[in-house]
Symmetry: C2
Subunit: 428 residues, 2 copies
């Protein structure tokens, strides 16, 4: 296939005319398709219906430690739920607090309490002149929305295939006491789909933060979201490595079953050192009497143990994998072949991160929208919604059916080609 960048002006104009005809035809179809939502499909959700039978009116709602789960009590999670999520995170169950239905809410709360109450006896961040967070980009828009809401200054850190630019991270964290945290999605990242290398994790564990209340916000949202049985990313255990490095307190790890069972009806967890857990529990006991133990028990009964989760996730993988593979194949043939786009083909997670020619992302997304295909908004994966090169588009393949996704991808391909041609012509 001829590379667009090698085309003459005349060839590009010819291509443009051809693509515009094609684009007009597509627009006439009045499509209504969506590649923007990081949501499981109905078929994935069907796989979890059995959890609704785990508990009924004949169930003795008693925890394995004998507690009546129908009444008040238990701040940090019932033992069987702590064990299940500790296994999932590869840590000791004493390092875990099991929460309600949303790990995003747990992260928000961590920052909210750091703002007003302070972490481990340190000055509340709202009393400081300036608080900064490092944001590997592209990243997760809802992380950035939290720090933006609290007026925390966000600093872009390039995210490479093996993790964030650790030279920059070390430079900031080890020298600037205003840097209080960093957002990380270490495995099958949103949106790049890449995972941190061992070297990256080790460099995180060995940070020497200038701020005593600096914390790594390690959002292990996709820790069990593999697409293949035989090809899986494995990352080092951050809690263990931080402890090993004499830095036990510098990390908060988060996970949930939102994309394992039902989003909104799952359970979430935080894992951290004993110091951090004690500090959090002291604050948490003011915030709530406890989380939904019934739903914790429901998850523990349904999955039994971590093997149960792994088997369940492989069934989900069977539904998701064809979507990723189809997209990769189609975009390789139509886009990569023309030199007008790139991505890492992930082996897990929920997203593909498409990089167009510089200055094309907004235009592609607008063109898609006009042709009836909704993409994640331009700039969403960046702090303040600002994509400095205007070339990143998050693609979410899970929710639509393969057929819908193929139709949407065919529109996307035309829009990428047309926007690229226009950009190349503009630059001539």
């Amino acid at each position: 296939m001829q590379q667009y960048q090698e085309m003459t002006k005349e060839e590009l104009l010819q291509e443009k005319a051809l693509l515009e005809t094609e684009y007009d035809k597509i627009k006439a179809l009045n499509l209504k398709l969506d590649m923007s939502r990081g949501k499981p499909s109905a078929e994935q959700l069907d796989l979890s219906m059995g959890i609704l039978d785990a508990i009924d009116s004949n169930t003795a709602l008693v925890s394995e430690n004998g507690m009546d789960l129908r009444n008040y009590g238990v701040l940090d999670g019932i033992p069987e739920a702590k064990r299940l999520l500790a296994e999932m995170l590869g840590c000791h169950e004493d390092s875990v607090i099991v929460y309600g239905n949303s790990s995003l809410n747990v992260m928000y709360d961590q920052i909210s309490r750091a703002m007003v109450l302070g972490i481990c006896g340190n000055t509340p961040w709202c009393k400081l002149d300036k608080v900064k967070f490092l944001c590997p980009v592209p990243g997760y828009d809802r992380h950035f929305a939290i720090t933006e809401t609290f007026g925390i200054e966000m600093i872009n850190i390039p995210l490479y295939e093996d993790g964030p630019d650790m030279d920059m991270v070390e430079q900031y964290v080890n020298n600037d006491p205003a840097v209080k945290g960093i957002w990380c999605v270490p495995k099958y990242a949103n949106p790049t789909g890449t995972s941190y290398s061992d070297e990256t994790v080790l460099r995180f564990a060995r940070l020497k933060p200038a701020a005593p209340d600096f914390r790594i916000f390690w959002d292990n949202a996709y820790c069990v979201h593999h697409l293949y049985e035989d090809r899986q990313d494995v990352i080092l255990n951050i809690l263990a490595e931080c402890e090993e490095a004499g830095n036990p307190d510098i990390v908060f790890e988060f996970c949930s079953t939102s994309k394992v069972t039902f989003p909104g009806a799952g359970i979430a967890a935080l894992a951290a050192s004993q110091n951090n857990i004690a500090d959090i529990k002291k604050q948490l006991t003011i915030q709530t009497i406890g989380y939904d133990k019934t739903n914790q028990r429901r998850h523990a009964i349904y999955f039994k143990n971590f093997d149960g989760i792994k088997q369940h996730m492989m069934k989900q993988a069977d539904l998701i994998r064809p979507k990723f593979e189809m997209l990769d194949e189609l975009m390789t043939a139509e886009i990569k072949s023309r030199g007008i786009g790139n991505w890492v083909n992930p082996i897990g997670g929920y997203f593909i991160c498409f990089e167009s020619l510089e200055g094309c992302a907004k235009d592609i997304i607008t063109k898609c929208k006009e042709a009836g295909v909704t993409m994640t908004g331009a700039g969403a994966p960046f702090p303040y919604g600002k994509d400095p090169k205007d070339n990143v588009i998050r693609i979410a393949p899970t929710y639509p059916s393969v057929e819908e996704l193929r139709k949407a991808a065919e529109v996307f391909v035309v829009c990428v080609r047309l926007a690229s041609v226009n950009k190349l012509l503009e630059n001539m």
Copy 2:
């Protein structure tokens, strides 16, 4: 029965000797009883087991508006849950946000966000030199713990049988812009069991706060917790009255089903004006993607409507009422008759608020503890745990069986008599 206060020193000494013998006998029994916990009994919880059958794997988990409840989406509650809790609060469903499992957490969040983000565009409270809250006393210790945690200065307001001292409330609220809120449990209050009169509610609605972001925190925790079918407190609707008075924005109302179905596995709600709801939703959308819609649906299916809740609560009343009546009878015969204690006998709620002779509460609670009966800690119903007259004891009759409760009450009676005799002798 002879009043203790009319006894001669000799009579008191005789009574003391008699009571000390009795007390020693009780201590020898090595009892382990508890009148401290505002928890439903296992029998009450049994009444709700049917809710666990409301949803199973054969249920189409679709909301009445057609949404798949198993997936992401819906910040403010599914329509059928909003309607159910709006009926319970007597307000329009558009005035309601349905949350997760804990109204205490909702209240905490309201104050936490007021601290860092501010209410309706006003200055965040953490940026102010001084923030004050009015605290009708005796009140709910977990309310006071929240305001104490955030460093908010708490001001005691006497709570009478018809509500807080409204002269004082008006004086503070209408003149001091540092007064940002007041904690209210308007119906079957924790711990007094009393309800606000119409006059009190109307005076609340007609406040003219000096602070634009002053809010009444109207914790309607016991709105459906009647003990009798034919004798029920009815309070005016605060939202409607505030709107009528041209003050629609000055109140946040809270409720939950924690003591209707299962504590920890219920659903909670906040009701407020459209301005407040819009402001809250704007902040909330950063905090979470949404609450547990499955559990919201479970409640809506199980109860169908407010009548379902009312019928259910009457079954609970049949279990609780005998405990309140037994206590009232026993304490009337043994304590009131001797002029050494007083209380309002409530017709709803979860507590009896016992007032001993001044300076006796700590001593009674200690004596109970030594005899194996746990009472709510002395001072708990007061800000900073300080009971100025040391005469308030919260009694929680619901959790133990009638038999256990009777045993515990018999111990309590002896401790009250002994502490009173000692106090009277001391004052001679």
